[in-house]
């Protein structure tokens, strides 16, 4: 399991993944490779299997067959928690803020696994060493909140934010731990144009600074065309095209898939 698989230079390599629910094939033998530092768009009409593929990559759903290789290691059987602690972070299409926590605590919670020894006992007793490490993490969380432009809302309960601010909050939560791969599931759905633009700017800044790979599912085709280096098109669970934005938008199969 730990041996380095030198099949490709890809950071994330999805190798022939198939996912079935009952009799329905949601993803059918899909393969794709994303190298570090690339922003990859994943597009396709309703029911194409994009979110299912995301769930498989992030460990929330086991594939029926196929493998997920991450940084040279087969992680198909690793848990979602393991993946998130090892540099794979995501946002959700159906928003998933920790609604009762403040904006800052939402982001801090995504770093809390680095809390240090003692766990719940140390927390209950408020041991000084544990508090000190929390202060360090809090500074980092505040930086991520600031980068996403949420500082003025940092004390507000996440459950009371508007849809656009929650998208930014989920982004802050996903980037705070300096991930190697960032998976964004329909990050701009429900956003105003200006908000979407701002979102795109933050994503490309983070990519330039940390060199992380970004994988994003999106329906706003102009947004994807403008932001992504390459695009993979899914239809009915299968990869039907892959290439630069210009190549993809002139592809006949893609036009057929979208226009029916």
């Amino acid at each position: 399991m730990e041996e380095r698989l030198s099949t490709s230079a890809a950071l994330v390599h999805v190798d022939g993944v198939t996912v079935r629910f009952g009799g329905v094939v949601a993803v059918n033998a899909a393969s794709l490779s994303v190298p570090p530092g690339e922003i990859r768009g994943l597009i396709g009409p309703n029911g194409a299997g994009k979110t299912t593929l995301f769930d498989t990559i992030t460990g929330m759903r086991l594939p029926t067959s196929g493998r997920v290789i991450y940084d040279g290691t087969d992680i198909t059987d690793r848990s979602a928690v393991w993946r998130s602690r090892n540099g794979m972070r995501r946002t959700f299409q159906r928003q998933q803020p920790f609604g009762w926590l403040s904006v800052e605590d939402n982001v801090l919670a995504a770093l809390d696994y680095r809390g240090g020894g003692g766990g719940i006992v140390a927390d209950v007793l408020a041991l000084p060493s544990r508090r000190r490490r929390e202060r360090e993490r809090r500074a980092k969380a505040q930086a991520a909140v600031a980068r996403c432009g949420l500082t003025s809302l940092s004390g507000e309960a996440a459950g009371r934010l508007s849809i656009g601010k929650v998208r930014l909050l989920e982004l802050a939560r996903a980037i705070v731990d300096d991930p190697k791969v960032l998976l964004l599931d329909e990050p701009t759905s429900g956003l105003e144009e200006a908000e979407a633009e701002k979102f795109g700017e933050i994503v490309s800044e983070v990519r330039h600074e940390t060199g992380c790979a970004v994988l994003l599912v999106e329906h706003d085709v102009p947004f994807v065309m403008g932001l992504c280096d390459r695009i993979t098109v899914l239809n009915l669970g299968e990869v039907i095209a892959e290439g630069t934005p210009a190549e993809v938008s002139s592809n006949d199969l893609v036009r057929a898939a979208y226009l029916g």
Binding site: P97, W100, S249, Y258
Partner: protein, 937 residues
């Protein structure tokens, strides 16, 4: 062989009672989503009423029985439906469980109070029913025996139960399979929203379900009482919890399986009692069978869940009513309360041993109650096994003190650790289960403790239990009540401080994160099992710590001190005062301990003038008043996690806000991005006029507004705080097909659901043939002829093809028309709709509409996932409907098919209509622009 048969008959009689209860529980749970833990309490009240009518007032059997099951039970069911269950319908699982626990506590207390209060106050000449060991049934009393073959004897009570069971089974089968009410109930269970779109009012089916469920409980109580053999509410509750195992055997939804499961349970219980000789040395093994089955069944139900994803918590964040105050001001009332408490204790109660005892008991109970704050208040999981933690800790401490001579303090710590270990065991189901199944699993484990673990002589020291003397600790003699009270005060302060630390720490954030969103927690590096285990372990340790304190205060712990059902009453008390904060637990502890004394003997304080003295209600009924108040309070406050405390805090806040508003003209503006409307006051604004406000863009057809069957004007709508549609204006004309096209995420389904009335519009109007229907609910709009064929097949998968048609076509002749039109449906009329292919399901959706065309039909993605040939047939149906004058709205993501038949086309993008016009104006360039942005091929 004779013995086996004899046992089987006795077992089957008990089993038939389980079956009756399990059927009623399943029926009301599936039809309303509420698992009524008070079901045994309802059965008890019915049995008590029947006993008093029949035995006390001398009514003969038939009128007494009819009065209970035909008048009392239906009225009780209706009352509970309107007062308790309907308001709970949209609440969280935890709120539903806590509310029914409140009912479980309150109902028997009210019944007892009426009976015994009537006897003592008004001198009613009826028995108090407390000591009844063999209540009469609805047939001969005493029961007569008859010989079957082989000298196997069956008594008349058993015969009555069998006949009742069989009659109820047949009646339920007829009701559900052969009446339209039954069909509608099953439809609501299968797909509630689709049922509304077929004109079914789920409020009605819910009321019927509770009436029927309550009647079944009443029948089970009255008929079962002679076999249950007592008129104690605790026994009836126990019978109900055993029946819960049968409900779980039925998968929480199948009435026939639950019925058979109940019979099986009864027989299995009896046979195990007789034949499991290998276990005869294990006290309580026999009684543990149903709870083992309940637990196993729950875990089995959870087997195929695998990795869970997508569970969304819709709970809004709790409102902090005091967040406008500085910290010192927030804490001031509590500081004053604590000071007053101690001043009162030391000055006025100095020599009042009885009251000091009450306060000490209250404070030690408060420690136990703090454990609810951790597991339910913070963790959001309902644990019904807290009493078991109390017991195991107290037994452990008692044993090591008495047998091994341990000092008190180390014994206290060891007891807490034992409770923590048990807490970890109880948390194991929580890794798989949540909500109701988890609560039932903790209940099963609690009962296993009662019947098995705490009957173990090694642990419980026989009936007499362990003596735990109040010790001398750090030079303070806790035998003195005031010292004990001070000591308990310090302990509570310390635990409150620990809970405070927990809330502000990484673990506290993880608890809330897991509660709010498990998928987001797991993908943010937070381990869900570790978090849940930690919550249960900590909560159990606190409960155990409190348990040793309670036992110390009492001086002794025996296996009868606390049982799982005591824990239910505790939960009701904590819910009443507020389960989210330590203060609620402390008040609940004090109130629980003091209420019986107050109701019983009143209060006479040396410092008050004598006209303020009160002599109480007298012994006997005092407990009932307390339980009734705590229980009813919990029922009403289950949805409010802060209980009474929150209500007073809210009122104070309102007063402060009013004062501030007077002082300053305008309130401070909210920060940008915060949604301003308060959760309980949705800002619904409806423009007064309709026709005059139609924007020019909508008038694509010159005289459309005049002909429109349906006119949408300025519709805004969405989910919760998220607005999806930002002002949609759209005329829908009879005899025309209006196509709405747009990419995923544009708001197409939201638009369909808003028109159908499933999603309320936050602004704008929908006018149907001159009538404003904006305020109508989905089933009312469906009855007016506005019908939605929803995305992903509008069929009820669990109903047969015939039953699906019946929902729209009650007349058999109309259904025959549909079969004539679609022979394939006729061939499959008795198959469940879920087994049809996608195309056949879409035909089944549309077939009844062809026979009885609606006025307006909205079809959401009718071609999704269908083969091209089938799509062609479906489109032909729409063409035919258009010819018959139906106003059609076809919503599609893909343009091709629908463009062939549409008359007008609108493009929807990000919640707005971006282009609207006749089909002839649509060309490839426009489509490419709409779907792929500006990029041209």
């Amino acid at each position: 062989m004779r013995e086996l048969l004899q046992l089987a008959i006795a077992g089957a009689a008990t089993g038939a009672i389980y079956s009756l209860i399990a059927s009623g529980l399943t029926l009301s749970y599936t039809a309303t989503g509420i698992f009524n833990l008070a079901y045994g309490a309802i059965a008890f009240c019915s049995a008590l009423l029947y006993y008093e009518l029949n035995n006390g007032l001398g009514w003969s059997i038939v009128p007494a029985f009819l009065f209970v099951v035909a008048i009392f039970c239906p009225l009780l069911g209706l009352a509970l439906n309107f007062a308790v269950f309907r308001p709970l319908a949209k609440s969280t699982d935890a709120a539903k469980i806590m509310a029914t626990v409140g009912l479980l506590v309150a109902l028997p207390a009210i019944a007892r109070y009426i009976v015994e209060g009537g006897i003592s106050t008004f001198g009613w000449g009826i028995p108090d029913a407390k000591q009844v060991t063999l209540p009469a049934g609805i047939f001969r009393s005493p029961a007569s025996n008859s010989n079957l073959w082989l000298d196997v004897v069956v008594n008349s009570n058993q015969v009555v139960v069998f006949i009742t069971g069989a009659a109820v089974a047949v009646a339920l089968w007829v009701l559900l399979r052969h009446t339209s009410l039954g069909l509608h109930m099953r439809a609501v269970v299968d797909k509630p929203e689709l049922a509304a779109m077929r004109g079914v009012n789920d409020g009605n089916t819910s009321a019927y379900a509770w009436v029927i469920g309550t009647v079944l409980a009443g029948v089970a109580g009255v008929v079962g009482a002679p076999i249950i053999g007592t008129l104690q509410e605790g026994t009836f509750n126990l019978v109900m919890f055993i029946a819960a195992a049968a409900v779980v055997i039925g998968g929480l939804r199948s009435i026939p399986l639950a019925f058979v499961g109940g019979l099986g349970l009864g027989i299995a219980e009896t046979l195990v009692r007789r034949y499991a000789t290998f276990a005869k040395d294990i006290n309580g093994f026999n009684n543990s069978v149903p709870f083992v089955l309940l637990l196993a069944g729950l875990l089995f139900l959870a087997r195929d869940r695998g990795r869970r994803g997508g569970s969304v918590s819709a709970q809004p964040p709790p409102v902090e009513w005091t967040d406008d105050l500085p910290t010192w001001r927030k804490n001031l009332p509590w500081v004053i309360a604590v000071v007053l408490f101690f001043v009162w204790t030391f000055v006025f109660l100095r020599n009042n041993e009885a009251w000091l005892g009450n306060l000490a008991t209250g404070l030690s109970l408060a420690v136990v109650f703090l454990s609810f704050v951790i597991v339910t208040g913070r963790g959001g999981m309902v644990s019904l096994s807290q009493a078991a933690f109390v017991m195991v800790a107290a037994f452990t401490a008692g044993k090591v003190m008495v047998e091994h001579g341990w000092p008190w303090f180390p014994a206290l710590i060891l007891g807490s650790l034992a409770a923590m270990a048990l807490g970890i065991v109880v948390s194991l189901p929580a890794l798989r289960l949540g909500g109701l199944p988890l609560a039932l699993a903790t209940l099963a484990l609690g009962f296993l403790g009662d019947v098995l673990l705490f009957k173990w002589n090694w642990l419980r020291q026989g009936q007499s239990g362990w003596k735990i003397a109040r010790p001398e600790l750090f030079g303070i003699n806790l035998v003195d009540r005031t010292s004990m009270i001070v000591f308990l005060g310090v302990v509570i302060a310390a635990i409150t401080w620990l809970i405070h630390n927990l809330q502000r720490s990484a673990s506290g954030r993880a608890i809330i994160a897991v509660r709010n969103s498990e998928p987001a927690a797991a993908t943010s590096g937070l381990s869900i099992p570790q978090t849940k285990l930690g919550i249960f372990a900590l909560s159990a340790a606190v409960a155990g710590f409190g348990g040793v304190l309670v036992a110390t205060n009492n001086g002794r712990i025996t296996d009868g001190t606390f049982v799982t059902q005591t824990g239910l009453a505790w939960l009701a008390a904590v819910v009443l005062f507020g389960i989210r904060k330590p203060q609620g637990a402390i008040l609940a502890g004090l109130s629980t301990a003091c209420s019986t004394t107050i109701w019983n003997r009143g209060f006479h304080f040396a410092f008050t003038p004598s006209f303020l003295h009160w002599n109480g209600l007298g012994s006997g009924t005092a407990t009932y008043v307390g339980n009734a108040l705590f229980g009813l309070g919990a029922v009403q406050l289950a949805r409010e996690p802060d209980g009474i405390l929150a209500i007073t805090a809210m009122q104070n806040r309102a007063r402060r806000d009013k004062r501030r508003a007077r002082q300053a003209d305008a309130a401070a503006p909210l920060p940008e991005g915060v949604v301003a409307s308060a959760p309980d006051s949705p800002a619904v604004t409806l423009p007064a006029s309709t026709a005059s406000t139609v924007p020019a863009a909508a008038r694509t057809d010159a005289d459309a507004p005049a002909l429109a069957a349906l006119q949408l004007t300025g519709i805004h709508s969405g989910y919760g705080l998220v607005e999806v549609l930002h002002g949609i204006t759209l005329p829908v004309v009879s005899g025309q097909i209006t196509a709405i096209l747009g990419p995923n995420g544009a708001g197409k389904s939201t638009l369909c659901q808003t028109i159908a009335g499933l999603v309320p519009a936050s602004a704008g109007t929908i006018v149907h043939r001159g009538v404003d229907v904006s305020g109508q609910r989905a089933h009312q709009r469906a009855r007016m002829g506005i019908v939605l064929a929803p995305e992903a097949r509008g069929v009820f998968p669990a109903l047969t093809v015939r039953e699906n048609l019946q929902m729209w076509l009650p007349d058999a002749a109309d259904r025959d028309d549909a079969y004539g039109r679609f022979p394939i449906l006729g061939e499959r009329r008795n198959l469940p709709a879920g087994s049809l292919s996608g195309g056949e399901q879409q035909m089944l959706t549309l077939a009844p509409l062809l026979v009885k065309p609606p006025d307006v039909l909205i079809a959401d993605e009718p071609s999704l996932g269908l083969a091209p040939l089938i799509v062609e047939q479906i489109l032909q149906i729409f063409v035919e409907l258009r010819a018959r004058g139906v106003a059609l709205v076809l919503v599609e993501e893909k343009a091709k098919g629908v463009l062939e038949i549409a008359d007008t086309v609108s493009f929807l993008s990000l919640g707005r209509i971006t282009w609207s016009g006749p089909k002839s104006a649509v060309d490839d360039g426009l489509l490419a622009q709409v779907y792929l942005g500006q990029v041209e091929a």
